[in-house]
């Protein structure tokens, strides 16, 4: 098992170097002079220009620039934001809990609804329940989530007035962040109504972000269940006279969940891509919105650092999923 882990880790190193190369090249690939491009319409004074040339090391040979960059990355130095003048890593650390909180809620929602939906559809295969569930899943899978978010806002926030439109908590509440997770911080603050305000802000963004993973998980669970339900051991369990719930819930589902676990792990990339859109629609102060804003403000050090950090997180999660998969399914360990 340890050897398997090391092999997977070894595969990660060239990918990591590739990812640093992409984020390194990003600023250097900008058409024209990258500093002028970053300055945009604001323009830049000759002194500031020289400062920036030094800061980015553009006066050195390319190879040396890359090694300097790599050394910086390994020491946690990802550059400084042009707009806020703060280190990129510090900004990311501030904003990431918001994205993580939203993503966790979304994935919980997706798993809690997706797995039962998939199981029911497989058990009732071909019935109207199966067709309705899988039809709904396909609609969810085909959904332009930015539009879905706007529709939910029109209906639940505009028409019914049930949920707020943007942000993480009502402006009436203020407390210093302890964990960065608004649900926990609002509870810790002890302020009355803070927690329910945080919950009401989370509902619509979570639904929007969960939509595609939910559909994928439901479809995957159904096909994995169908495969398992045809196996001999399930028939044996049935013929022993076990209750249907026990056969489906314990014997079949446990094996069907193996591929589903991988699917859930692979949703992290989908979640990060979804976070870009969801956070933009709901003005959710997370890393997705931060990246979009940075692209628009031409704050390229932020885009560069953000790219690297997000790719790094996805790589680590994928590694963990791989290892978990090897753990529950010894056959892939070879």
């Amino acid at each position: 098992m340890f050897g398997f882990f090391l092999r997977r880790l070894g595969l990660l190193i060239p990918t990591f170097i590739g990812v640093t190369l992409v984020s390194f090249l990003f600023i250097r690939l900008l058409p024209g002079d990258p500093i002028i491009a970053m300055a945009g319409e604001r323009g830049v004074t000759p002194q500031r220009y020289q400062e920036l040339v030094q800061q980015f090391g553009f006066d050195k040979p390319m190879m040396l620039q890359y090694f300097d960059y790599l050394r910086g990355v390994l020491h946690g130095d990802l550059g400084t934001s042009i707009t806020t003048k703060r280190p990129v890593l510090a900004e990311f650390r501030n904003l990431f809990p918001a994205t993580l909180e939203l993503s966790i809620c979304a994935i919980i929602l997706a798993v809690a609804l997706g797995i039962p939906a998939g199981v029911v559809a497989a058990v009732k295969r071909g019935s109207w329940i199966d067709q309705t569930l899988m039809g709904t899943a396909l609609v969810g899978y085909s959904m332009p989530i930015f539009w879905w978010g706007l529709l939910l806002i029109i209906f639940f926030s505009g028409y019914l007035g049930w949920t707020p439109v943007s942000g993480r908590i009502s402006l009436m509440y203020f407390f210093p962040p302890v964990t960065g997770f608004m649900l926990i911080d609002s509870l810790l603050s002890g302020q009355q109504g803070a927690f329910s305000s945080a919950v009401s802000h989370l509902i619509l963004p979570s639904i929007v972000l969960a939509t595609i993973p939910l559909a994928v998980i439901a479809r995957q669970t159904r096909s994995a269940m169908l495969e398992v339900l045809g196996e001999d051991y399930v028939r044996t369990a049935r013929s022993k006279g076990l209750a249907p719930f026990r056969v489906i819930g314990i014997h079949a589902l446990r094996n069907a969940l193996i591929p589903v676990v991988t699917t859930i792990g692979l949703q992290i990339g989908v979640l990060m891509a979804g976070a870009i859109l969801t956070e933009t629609i709901f003005s959710w102060p997370g890393v997705g919105k931060w990246m979009v804003d940075a692209v628009f403000k031409r704050d390229y050090p932020v885009v560069q650092g953000g790219l690297l950090l997000i790719a790094g997180i996805i790589m680590i999660v994928n590694l963990l999923v791989d290892v978990a998969y090897g753990f529950i399914n010894p056959r892939v360990r070879k």
Partner: protein
């Protein structure tokens, strides 16, 4: 030698068999019909759209759909904030969505299959190098990478399509490579190699046709996801630029009116959803029809 009589039973042609399995799925047939309608709409846009997509009627701003109070029957789905007919813009918009799908899938399939064939056929360090590059592309969330690429290349429809194609590339490379690796040691390939077939012939004529089924299914999925991604980039202001009647761009322009005029937001999104759903329904049908394992279940 005597003439051998043909005793092989008459086989259904491949296409007929495929059509039989494809039409067994009601969803796939509905998807195909809807998709055909969208294609027709795109081709006949100048003939069927009631107005020109970019003509502004200053006296008809934010008109509700015809069936609502204050609606006007010549603007069936209402008008937007500068008085353009939404229905006409949607009809013309279908051209952009299909164009995006075709261009993205063509670029991704042609280059992906080529690179995948090379990786799978040659193996060794070439394969390792190619696959590591693909891993790097896959390490980034697709939309984020596309967004950043467009930031480098400059906003616009062409650059958005290039970016989306590049992001889609690894899926085709991986699929082709995996298929080639399972096929290349089979007897028929070895046979043709022994018969003297060159590597180009082996790659493109002997092996490739036997790897097509998963590629066709993936191409369908890539088509629908290209439409979604391009619309998302348009929505973020990084895809097609106004006043292009691209559906995502229309949504971006409509955002500020969501509380006042639901129709400017609802219809472009519905158009995206219906088109993407139709293609995905077809994709599911294609997968079932082309996958021999699924045929039995």
């Amino acid at each position: 030698m005597t003439d051998a009589t043909d005793i092989t039973p008459k086989r259904q042609s491949g296409l007929a068999e495929f059509w039989y399995y494809f039409t067994r799925s009601k969803g796939a047939v509905i998807g195909l019909l809807v998709f055909a309608l969208v294609v027709l709409m795109a081709i006949l846009a100048p003939l069927i759209s009631p107005h020109l997509p970019n003509v502004q009627n200053q006296s008809m701003i934010l008109l509700p759909p015809a069936w609502m109070n204050g609606g006007n029957s010549s603007f069936l789905l209402g008008t937007d904030a500068v008085g353009r007919d939404i229905l006409s813009r949607l009809i013309y918009g279908s051209r952009y969505s299909l164009f995006i799908g075709i261009v993205v899938v063509s670029i991704a399939v042609v280059s992906g299959v080529l690179v995948g064939l090379i990786a799978g056929y040659l193996g060794g360090w070439v394969d390792s190098a190619i696959m590591r590059v693909m891993d790097v592309i896959l390490a980034f969330p697709s939309l984020l990478l596309a967004l950043v690429l467009v930031a480098i290349l400059g906003p616009g429809l062409t650059n958005a399509m290039i970016a989306i194609a590049l992001v889609d590339l690894p899926h085709f490379v991986r699929l082709t490579r995996a298929a080639v690796m399972t096929e290349k040691n089979k007897d028929y390939v070895v046979g043709s190699r022994v018969a003297g077939a060159g590597w180009l012939r082996l790659m493109f004529i002997t092996i490739l046709p036997n790897c097509l089924a998963p590629l066709i299914v993936q191409a369908t999925l890539a088509f629908s996801s290209a439409i979604l991604d391009a619309a998302a980039l348009g929505f973020l202001g990084m895809g097609a630029q106004p006043p292009t009647p691209e559906w995502g761009t229309m949504l971006a322009e409509a955002r500020e009116f969501i509380q006042r005029a639901w129709w400017v937001v609802t219809f472009p999104g519905l158009a995206i959803l219906i088109t993407v759903l139709a293609i995905n329904l077809m994709g599911d049908g294609l997968r079932d029809a082309l996958d021999p394992k699924l045929k039995r279940s």
